[in-house]
Amino acid sequence: MGPIGENEFFFLMQGLKWTVLLAIVGFIGGGIFGILIALLRTSKKKLARTITAGYIGVFQGTPLLMQLFVVYYGVALLGIEVNAWIAVAIAFTLHASAFLGEIWRGSIEAVPKGQTEAANALGLHYVSRMKDVILPQALKISMPATIGFLVQLIKGTSLAAIVGFIELTRAGQIISNQTYRPLLVFGIVGAIYFIICWPLSHAGSGLEKRMAKAAR
Protein backbone atom coordinates (compact mmCIF):
# COMPACT_ATOMS: atom_id res chain seq x y z
CA MET A 1 0.00 0.00 0.00
CA GLY A 2 1.22 3.45 -0.82
CA PRO A 3 0.52 6.65 1.03
CA ILE A 4 -1.87 9.32 -0.18
CA GLY A 5 0.47 12.29 -0.23
CA GLU A 6 0.66 15.71 -1.77
CA ASN A 7 1.23 14.36 -5.29
CA GLU A 8 -1.81 12.10 -5.19
CA PHE A 9 -3.97 14.90 -3.86
CA PHE A 10 -2.68 17.24 -6.55
CA PHE A 11 -3.57 14.65 -9.19
CA LEU A 12 -7.13 14.43 -7.81
CA MET A 13 -7.38 18.22 -7.92
CA GLN A 14 -6.30 18.14 -11.57
CA GLY A 15 -9.15 15.71 -12.19
CA LEU A 16 -11.54 17.91 -10.25
CA LYS A 17 -10.64 20.81 -12.55
CA TRP A 18 -11.83 18.78 -15.56
CA THR A 19 -14.97 17.68 -13.76
CA VAL A 20 -15.89 21.28 -13.00
CA LEU A 21 -15.00 22.47 -16.51
CA LEU A 22 -17.01 19.67 -18.11
CA ALA A 23 -20.03 20.46 -15.94
CA ILE A 24 -19.81 24.18 -16.70
CA VAL A 25 -19.41 23.67 -20.46
CA GLY A 26 -22.25 21.13 -20.49
CA PHE A 27 -24.50 23.39 -18.46
CA ILE A 28 -23.87 26.55 -20.49
CA GLY A 29 -23.94 24.78 -23.87
CA GLY A 30 -26.95 22.75 -22.80
CA GLY A 31 -28.61 25.91 -21.53
CA ILE A 32 -28.24 27.72 -24.85
CA PHE A 33 -29.54 24.78 -26.92
CA GLY A 34 -32.03 23.93 -24.16
CA ILE A 35 -33.82 27.29 -24.53
CA LEU A 36 -34.06 26.64 -28.27
CA ILE A 37 -35.49 23.16 -27.62
CA ALA A 38 -37.97 24.52 -25.08
CA LEU A 39 -39.16 27.25 -27.48
CA LEU A 40 -39.56 24.78 -30.36
CA ARG A 41 -41.29 22.32 -28.04
CA THR A 42 -43.88 24.98 -27.12
CA SER A 43 -44.20 26.53 -30.59
CA LYS A 44 -47.36 26.53 -32.72
CA LYS A 45 -45.71 24.44 -35.45
CA LYS A 46 -46.58 20.78 -35.03
CA LEU A 47 -43.46 19.56 -36.85
CA ALA A 48 -41.17 21.51 -34.50
CA ARG A 49 -43.04 20.10 -31.48
CA THR A 50 -42.82 16.51 -32.76
CA ILE A 51 -39.12 16.67 -33.60
CA THR A 52 -38.12 18.21 -30.26
CA ALA A 53 -40.35 15.74 -28.40
CA GLY A 54 -38.49 12.93 -30.15
CA TYR A 55 -35.11 14.50 -29.33
CA ILE A 56 -36.03 14.80 -25.66
CA GLY A 57 -37.48 11.26 -25.63
CA VAL A 58 -34.30 9.73 -27.01
CA PHE A 59 -32.04 11.45 -24.48
CA GLN A 60 -34.32 10.68 -21.55
CA GLY A 61 -34.88 7.09 -22.67
CA THR A 62 -31.25 6.00 -23.10
CA PRO A 63 -28.37 5.79 -20.62
CA LEU A 64 -26.03 8.78 -20.46
CA LEU A 65 -23.13 6.33 -20.78
CA MET A 66 -24.44 5.15 -24.19
CA GLN A 67 -24.89 8.77 -25.31
CA LEU A 68 -21.25 9.36 -24.43
CA PHE A 69 -20.09 6.32 -26.38
CA VAL A 70 -22.20 7.09 -29.47
CA VAL A 71 -21.13 10.74 -29.64
CA TYR A 72 -17.51 9.86 -28.83
CA TYR A 73 -17.23 7.36 -31.69
CA GLY A 74 -19.72 9.20 -33.91
CA VAL A 75 -17.66 12.42 -33.93
CA ALA A 76 -14.58 10.39 -34.89
CA LEU A 77 -16.48 8.99 -37.90
CA LEU A 78 -17.18 12.47 -39.21
CA GLY A 79 -13.53 12.53 -40.14
CA ILE A 80 -12.74 15.60 -38.05
CA GLU A 81 -9.73 15.25 -35.81
CA VAL A 82 -11.13 16.13 -32.38
CA ASN A 83 -9.66 15.30 -29.02
CA ALA A 84 -11.49 13.37 -26.33
CA TRP A 85 -12.25 16.55 -24.39
CA ILE A 86 -14.26 18.11 -27.23
CA ALA A 87 -16.14 14.88 -27.98
CA VAL A 88 -17.13 14.44 -24.34
CA ALA A 89 -18.10 18.11 -24.05
CA ILE A 90 -20.36 17.78 -27.10
CA ALA A 91 -22.04 14.71 -25.59
CA PHE A 92 -22.77 16.49 -22.30
CA THR A 93 -24.03 19.57 -24.14
CA LEU A 94 -26.52 17.49 -26.15
CA HIS A 95 -27.58 15.56 -23.06
CA ALA A 96 -28.10 18.73 -21.01
CA SER A 97 -29.97 20.49 -23.82
CA ALA A 98 -32.61 17.72 -23.90
CA PHE A 99 -33.13 17.66 -20.13
CA LEU A 100 -33.07 21.45 -19.70
CA GLY A 101 -35.34 21.80 -22.73
CA GLU A 102 -37.91 19.54 -21.10
CA ILE A 103 -37.64 21.32 -17.72
CA TRP A 104 -38.06 24.72 -19.35
CA ARG A 105 -40.94 23.53 -21.55
CA GLY A 106 -42.76 22.67 -18.32
CA SER A 107 -42.01 26.09 -16.82
CA ILE A 108 -43.07 27.96 -19.96
CA GLU A 109 -46.39 26.10 -19.86
CA ALA A 110 -46.69 26.82 -16.14
CA VAL A 111 -46.75 30.58 -16.75
CA PRO A 112 -50.44 31.58 -16.55
CA LYS A 113 -52.18 31.85 -19.93
CA GLY A 114 -53.34 35.39 -19.07
CA GLN A 115 -49.73 36.56 -19.40
CA THR A 116 -49.59 35.49 -23.05
CA GLU A 117 -53.01 36.99 -23.72
CA ALA A 118 -52.04 40.27 -22.06
CA ALA A 119 -48.82 40.42 -24.08
CA ASN A 120 -50.80 39.79 -27.27
CA ALA A 121 -53.35 42.44 -26.29
CA LEU A 122 -50.49 44.91 -25.84
CA GLY A 123 -49.43 44.12 -29.39
CA LEU A 124 -46.10 42.53 -28.45
CA HIS A 125 -44.60 40.31 -31.14
CA TYR A 126 -43.28 36.81 -30.44
CA VAL A 127 -39.68 37.74 -29.55
CA SER A 128 -40.65 40.48 -27.14
CA ARG A 129 -43.47 38.42 -25.64
CA MET A 130 -41.07 35.56 -24.89
CA LYS A 131 -38.01 37.61 -23.92
CA ASP A 132 -39.74 40.22 -21.77
CA VAL A 133 -42.86 38.49 -20.45
CA ILE A 134 -42.86 34.69 -20.51
CA LEU A 135 -39.22 33.57 -20.17
CA PRO A 136 -38.32 35.67 -17.09
CA GLN A 137 -41.29 34.19 -15.23
CA ALA A 138 -40.60 30.70 -16.57
CA LEU A 139 -36.96 30.95 -15.48
CA LYS A 140 -38.03 31.71 -11.93
CA ILE A 141 -40.45 28.79 -11.87
CA SER A 142 -37.79 26.44 -13.25
CA MET A 143 -35.04 27.31 -10.75
CA PRO A 144 -35.43 24.33 -8.36
CA ALA A 145 -35.58 21.80 -11.22
CA THR A 146 -32.73 23.51 -13.08
CA ILE A 147 -30.49 23.39 -10.01
CA GLY A 148 -31.54 19.76 -9.50
CA PHE A 149 -30.43 18.95 -13.02
CA LEU A 150 -27.11 20.75 -12.51
CA VAL A 151 -26.41 18.35 -9.63
CA GLN A 152 -27.35 15.42 -11.93
CA LEU A 153 -24.98 16.77 -14.56
CA ILE A 154 -22.05 17.16 -12.14
CA LYS A 155 -22.54 13.58 -11.00
CA GLY A 156 -23.01 12.50 -14.63
CA THR A 157 -19.59 13.85 -15.66
CA SER A 158 -18.11 10.93 -13.69
CA LEU A 159 -19.20 8.64 -16.56
CA ALA A 160 -16.61 10.32 -18.78
CA ALA A 161 -14.20 8.17 -16.76
CA ILE A 162 -15.52 5.04 -18.50
CA VAL A 163 -14.73 6.57 -21.89
CA GLY A 164 -11.20 7.13 -20.60
CA PHE A 165 -11.35 10.87 -19.93
CA ILE A 166 -9.33 11.77 -16.83
CA GLU A 167 -11.70 13.72 -14.63
CA LEU A 168 -12.15 13.33 -10.86
CA THR A 169 -13.45 9.73 -10.81
CA ARG A 170 -10.89 8.46 -13.35
CA ALA A 171 -8.14 10.25 -11.41
CA GLY A 172 -9.42 8.43 -8.32
CA GLN A 173 -9.30 5.10 -10.14
CA ILE A 174 -5.70 5.72 -11.20
CA ILE A 175 -4.60 6.73 -7.67
CA SER A 176 -6.49 3.76 -6.25
CA ASN A 177 -4.64 1.36 -8.57
CA GLN A 178 -1.30 2.93 -7.64
CA THR A 179 -1.74 3.03 -3.89
CA TYR A 180 -4.02 0.01 -3.29
CA ARG A 181 -6.21 2.10 -1.00
CA PRO A 182 -9.54 2.05 -2.88
CA LEU A 183 -11.75 2.83 0.10
CA LEU A 184 -9.74 5.85 1.19
CA VAL A 185 -9.40 7.17 -2.37
CA PHE A 186 -13.04 6.69 -3.37
CA GLY A 187 -14.06 8.02 0.03
CA ILE A 188 -12.13 11.22 -0.70
CA VAL A 189 -13.48 11.39 -4.27
CA GLY A 190 -17.04 10.89 -3.01
CA ALA A 191 -16.52 13.57 -0.37
CA ILE A 192 -15.34 16.05 -3.02
CA TYR A 193 -18.46 15.43 -5.12
CA PHE A 194 -20.58 15.78 -1.98
CA ILE A 195 -18.99 19.11 -1.06
CA ILE A 196 -19.88 20.45 -4.52
CA CYS A 197 -23.33 18.89 -4.92
CA TRP A 198 -24.82 19.12 -1.44
CA PRO A 199 -24.95 22.94 -1.17
CA LEU A 200 -26.55 23.07 -4.63
CA SER A 201 -29.16 20.43 -3.71
CA HIS A 202 -29.82 22.25 -0.48
CA ALA A 203 -30.27 25.60 -2.24
CA GLY A 204 -32.57 23.97 -4.79
CA SER A 205 -34.89 22.35 -2.26
CA GLY A 206 -34.87 25.49 -0.12
CA LEU A 207 -35.98 27.51 -3.11
CA GLU A 208 -38.68 24.96 -3.87
CA LYS A 209 -40.07 25.16 -0.33
CA ARG A 210 -40.08 28.96 -0.38
CA MET A 211 -41.85 29.05 -3.74
CA ALA A 212 -44.43 26.49 -2.58
CA LYS A 213 -45.12 28.66 0.47
CA ALA A 214 -45.43 31.79 -1.67
CA ALA A 215 -47.87 30.06 -4.01
CA ARG A 216 -50.23 29.15 -1.17
Binding site: T62, P63, L77, K155, A161, F194, C197, S201
Partner: protein, 222 residues
Protein backbone atom coordinates in the same frame (compact mmCIF):
# COMPACT_ATOMS: atom_id res chain seq x y z
CA UNK B 1 -15.85 10.40 -45.23
CA UNK B 2 -14.68 7.03 -46.44
CA UNK B 3 -16.14 5.06 -43.57
CA UNK B 4 -18.59 2.32 -44.50
CA UNK B 5 -20.99 1.22 -41.83
CA UNK B 6 -21.11 -2.46 -41.02
CA UNK B 7 -23.99 -3.32 -38.77
CA UNK B 8 -23.80 -6.93 -39.96
CA UNK B 9 -20.80 -7.56 -37.71
CA UNK B 10 -22.93 -6.44 -34.76
CA UNK B 11 -26.08 -8.29 -35.78
CA UNK B 12 -24.06 -11.52 -36.01
CA UNK B 13 -23.77 -11.25 -32.24
CA UNK B 14 -27.52 -10.83 -31.72
CA UNK B 15 -27.78 -13.72 -29.21
CA UNK B 16 -25.22 -12.01 -26.96
CA UNK B 17 -27.17 -8.76 -27.18
CA UNK B 18 -30.35 -10.61 -26.26
CA UNK B 19 -28.73 -12.26 -23.23
CA UNK B 20 -27.22 -8.92 -22.29
CA UNK B 21 -30.67 -7.30 -22.47
CA UNK B 22 -32.08 -10.00 -20.22
CA UNK B 23 -29.17 -9.39 -17.84
CA UNK B 24 -30.02 -5.68 -17.82
CA UNK B 25 -33.70 -6.42 -17.10
CA UNK B 26 -32.72 -8.82 -14.32
CA UNK B 27 -30.36 -6.27 -12.75
CA UNK B 28 -33.04 -3.58 -13.02
CA UNK B 29 -35.78 -5.75 -11.51
CA UNK B 30 -33.64 -6.97 -8.62
CA UNK B 31 -32.36 -3.43 -8.05
CA UNK B 32 -35.92 -2.05 -7.98
CA UNK B 33 -37.08 -4.65 -5.45
CA UNK B 34 -34.12 -3.98 -3.18
CA UNK B 35 -34.68 -0.22 -3.59
CA UNK B 36 -38.32 -0.64 -2.58
CA UNK B 37 -37.39 -2.64 0.53
CA UNK B 38 -34.75 -0.07 1.51
CA UNK B 39 -37.22 2.70 0.71
CA UNK B 40 -39.98 1.33 2.93
CA UNK B 41 -37.64 0.47 5.83
CA UNK B 42 -36.00 3.86 5.43
CA UNK B 43 -39.31 5.69 5.65
CA UNK B 44 -40.30 3.75 8.77
CA UNK B 45 -37.01 4.79 10.39
CA UNK B 46 -37.16 8.32 8.97
CA UNK B 47 -40.66 9.04 10.33
CA UNK B 48 -40.04 7.53 13.77
CA UNK B 49 -39.87 9.72 16.83
CA UNK B 50 -36.37 8.69 17.84
CA UNK B 51 -33.48 10.82 16.60
CA UNK B 52 -31.15 7.79 16.66
CA UNK B 53 -33.04 6.17 13.79
CA UNK B 54 -33.93 9.38 11.97
CA UNK B 55 -30.47 10.94 11.63
CA UNK B 56 -28.68 8.00 9.93
CA UNK B 57 -31.45 7.81 7.31
CA UNK B 58 -31.17 11.55 6.58
CA UNK B 59 -27.39 11.27 6.24
CA UNK B 60 -27.73 8.16 4.04
CA UNK B 61 -30.18 9.88 1.69
CA UNK B 62 -28.06 13.04 1.39
CA UNK B 63 -24.79 11.18 0.80
CA UNK B 64 -26.23 8.86 -1.85
CA UNK B 65 -28.10 11.60 -3.67
CA UNK B 66 -25.11 13.93 -3.81
CA UNK B 67 -22.41 11.53 -5.05
CA UNK B 68 -22.12 9.81 -8.45
CA UNK B 69 -23.35 6.23 -8.82
CA UNK B 70 -20.02 5.26 -10.39
CA UNK B 71 -18.14 6.27 -7.23
CA UNK B 72 -20.72 4.44 -5.09
CA UNK B 73 -20.40 1.21 -7.06
CA UNK B 74 -16.58 1.34 -6.90
CA UNK B 75 -16.74 1.96 -3.16
CA UNK B 76 -19.10 -0.96 -2.58
CA UNK B 77 -17.13 -3.19 -4.95
CA UNK B 78 -13.97 -2.67 -2.90
CA UNK B 79 -15.62 -2.40 0.51
CA UNK B 80 -17.49 -5.73 0.52
CA UNK B 81 -14.39 -7.97 0.23
CA UNK B 82 -12.73 -6.02 3.07
CA UNK B 83 -15.75 -6.88 5.20
CA UNK B 84 -15.16 -10.54 4.31
CA UNK B 85 -18.08 -10.64 1.86
CA UNK B 86 -17.18 -12.15 -1.51
CA UNK B 87 -19.86 -11.76 -4.15
CA UNK B 88 -19.82 -11.92 -7.92
CA UNK B 89 -19.92 -8.57 -9.76
CA UNK B 90 -23.57 -8.95 -10.73
CA UNK B 91 -24.75 -9.36 -7.15
CA UNK B 92 -22.52 -6.46 -6.11
CA UNK B 93 -24.15 -4.38 -8.84
CA UNK B 94 -27.63 -5.25 -7.55
CA UNK B 95 -26.64 -4.13 -4.05
CA UNK B 96 -25.24 -0.85 -5.41
CA UNK B 97 -28.36 -0.24 -7.53
CA UNK B 98 -30.61 -1.05 -4.57
CA UNK B 99 -28.74 1.32 -2.27
CA UNK B 100 -28.76 4.11 -4.84
CA UNK B 101 -32.41 3.62 -5.81
CA UNK B 102 -33.35 3.13 -2.16
CA UNK B 103 -32.19 6.61 -1.20
CA UNK B 104 -34.40 8.16 -3.88
CA UNK B 105 -37.28 5.81 -2.95
CA UNK B 106 -37.12 6.97 0.68
CA UNK B 107 -37.72 10.57 -0.34
CA UNK B 108 -40.51 9.65 -2.78
CA UNK B 109 -42.36 7.29 -0.40
CA UNK B 110 -42.04 9.75 2.49
CA UNK B 111 -43.80 12.35 0.36
CA UNK B 112 -46.61 9.87 -0.32
CA UNK B 113 -47.07 8.94 3.32
CA UNK B 114 -47.17 12.59 4.33
CA UNK B 115 -49.80 13.32 1.67
CA UNK B 116 -52.39 11.13 3.45
CA UNK B 117 -54.45 13.44 5.61
CA UNK B 118 -55.31 12.69 9.21
CA UNK B 119 -58.97 13.67 8.69
CA UNK B 120 -59.49 10.97 6.04
CA UNK B 121 -58.27 8.28 8.42
CA UNK B 122 -60.58 9.55 11.15
CA UNK B 123 -63.47 9.64 8.69
CA UNK B 124 -62.74 6.02 7.81
CA UNK B 125 -62.94 4.96 11.44
CA UNK B 126 -66.13 7.03 11.91
CA UNK B 127 -67.70 5.07 9.05
CA UNK B 128 -66.97 1.90 11.00
CA UNK B 129 -64.26 0.56 8.68
CA UNK B 130 -61.96 -2.07 10.10
CA UNK B 131 -58.37 -1.07 10.88
CA UNK B 132 -56.97 -3.13 7.98
CA UNK B 133 -59.50 -1.60 5.57
CA UNK B 134 -58.59 1.89 6.71
CA UNK B 135 -54.95 1.13 6.05
CA UNK B 136 -55.61 -0.60 2.71
CA UNK B 137 -58.17 1.81 1.24
CA UNK B 138 -57.45 5.15 2.87
CA UNK B 139 -53.71 5.10 3.56
CA UNK B 140 -52.06 2.66 1.16
CA UNK B 141 -53.94 3.10 -2.11
CA UNK B 142 -54.00 6.91 -2.24
CA UNK B 143 -50.37 7.02 -1.09
CA UNK B 144 -49.40 4.54 -3.82
CA UNK B 145 -51.30 6.61 -6.35
CA UNK B 146 -49.54 9.78 -5.19
CA UNK B 147 -46.03 8.31 -5.45
CA UNK B 148 -46.64 6.16 -8.54
CA UNK B 149 -45.49 8.67 -11.22
CA UNK B 150 -42.24 9.65 -9.48
CA UNK B 151 -41.49 6.12 -8.31
CA UNK B 152 -41.92 4.60 -11.77
CA UNK B 153 -39.83 7.28 -13.47
CA UNK B 154 -37.18 6.62 -10.82
CA UNK B 155 -37.37 2.93 -11.78
CA UNK B 156 -36.79 3.77 -15.42
CA UNK B 157 -33.80 5.88 -14.40
CA UNK B 158 -32.50 2.95 -12.37
CA UNK B 159 -32.84 0.71 -15.42
CA UNK B 160 -30.78 3.15 -17.49
CA UNK B 161 -28.23 3.40 -14.67
CA UNK B 162 -27.59 -0.36 -14.87
CA UNK B 163 -25.33 0.43 -17.85
CA UNK B 164 -22.79 1.90 -15.41
CA UNK B 165 -22.47 -1.56 -13.82
CA UNK B 166 -20.23 -2.49 -16.76
CA UNK B 167 -17.46 -0.72 -14.83
CA UNK B 168 -17.28 -3.67 -12.41
CA UNK B 169 -17.96 -6.18 -15.22
CA UNK B 170 -21.46 -7.14 -14.13
CA UNK B 171 -23.43 -9.20 -16.62
CA UNK B 172 -25.61 -6.82 -18.62
CA UNK B 173 -26.10 -5.16 -22.01
CA UNK B 174 -23.32 -2.56 -21.91
CA UNK B 175 -20.66 -5.09 -20.92
CA UNK B 176 -21.89 -7.33 -23.76
CA UNK B 177 -21.50 -4.31 -26.06
CA UNK B 178 -17.95 -3.71 -24.87
CA UNK B 179 -17.06 -7.37 -25.51
CA UNK B 180 -18.48 -7.17 -29.04
CA UNK B 181 -16.67 -3.89 -29.64
CA UNK B 182 -13.29 -5.29 -28.66
CA UNK B 183 -13.83 -8.26 -31.00
CA UNK B 184 -15.18 -6.41 -34.04
CA UNK B 185 -13.75 -2.85 -33.66
CA UNK B 186 -17.15 -1.59 -34.86
CA UNK B 187 -17.46 0.84 -31.96
CA UNK B 188 -20.04 3.20 -33.40
CA UNK B 189 -22.28 0.45 -34.79
CA UNK B 190 -22.22 -1.50 -31.53
CA UNK B 191 -23.08 1.43 -29.29
CA UNK B 192 -25.65 2.79 -31.71
CA UNK B 193 -27.46 -0.57 -31.76
CA UNK B 194 -27.27 -0.96 -28.01
CA UNK B 195 -28.55 2.59 -27.46
CA UNK B 196 -31.56 1.68 -29.62
CA UNK B 197 -32.14 -1.45 -27.49
CA UNK B 198 -32.09 0.66 -24.31
CA UNK B 199 -34.61 3.03 -25.91
CA UNK B 200 -36.90 0.08 -26.68
CA UNK B 201 -36.56 -1.23 -23.11
CA UNK B 202 -37.33 2.12 -21.48
CA UNK B 203 -40.23 2.81 -23.87
CA UNK B 204 -41.77 -0.61 -23.13
CA UNK B 205 -41.38 0.01 -19.40
CA UNK B 206 -43.07 3.39 -19.70
CA UNK B 207 -45.95 1.78 -21.58
CA UNK B 208 -46.28 -0.98 -19.00
CA UNK B 209 -46.27 1.48 -16.10
CA UNK B 210 -48.93 3.59 -17.82
CA UNK B 211 -51.06 0.49 -18.39
CA UNK B 212 -50.82 -0.52 -14.71
CA UNK B 213 -51.70 3.01 -13.67
CA UNK B 214 -54.82 2.95 -15.86
CA UNK B 215 -55.84 -0.42 -14.40
CA UNK B 216 -55.43 0.38 -10.72
CA UNK B 217 -55.60 4.12 -10.22
CA UNK B 218 -58.35 4.96 -12.67
CA UNK B 219 -60.85 6.49 -10.28
CA UNK B 220 -61.88 10.08 -9.65
CA UNK B 221 -60.37 11.77 -6.60
CA UNK B 222 -62.85 14.53 -6.01
Amino acid sequence: MTYTFDFGAVLDRAPELLWGSLGTLGLALAGMLLALVIGILGVVARTSKSEITRTPVIVFVEVVRNTPFLVQIFFIYFALPLMGIRLNPTVTAIIALGINGGAYAIEIIRGGVESVSRGQIEAGFALGLHKTDVFRLIVLKPALRAIYPSLTSQFIMLTLTTSVCTSIAAYELTSAAQRIESDTFRSFEVYFTVTAIYLVISTLMMGLFALISRQYFNYPTR
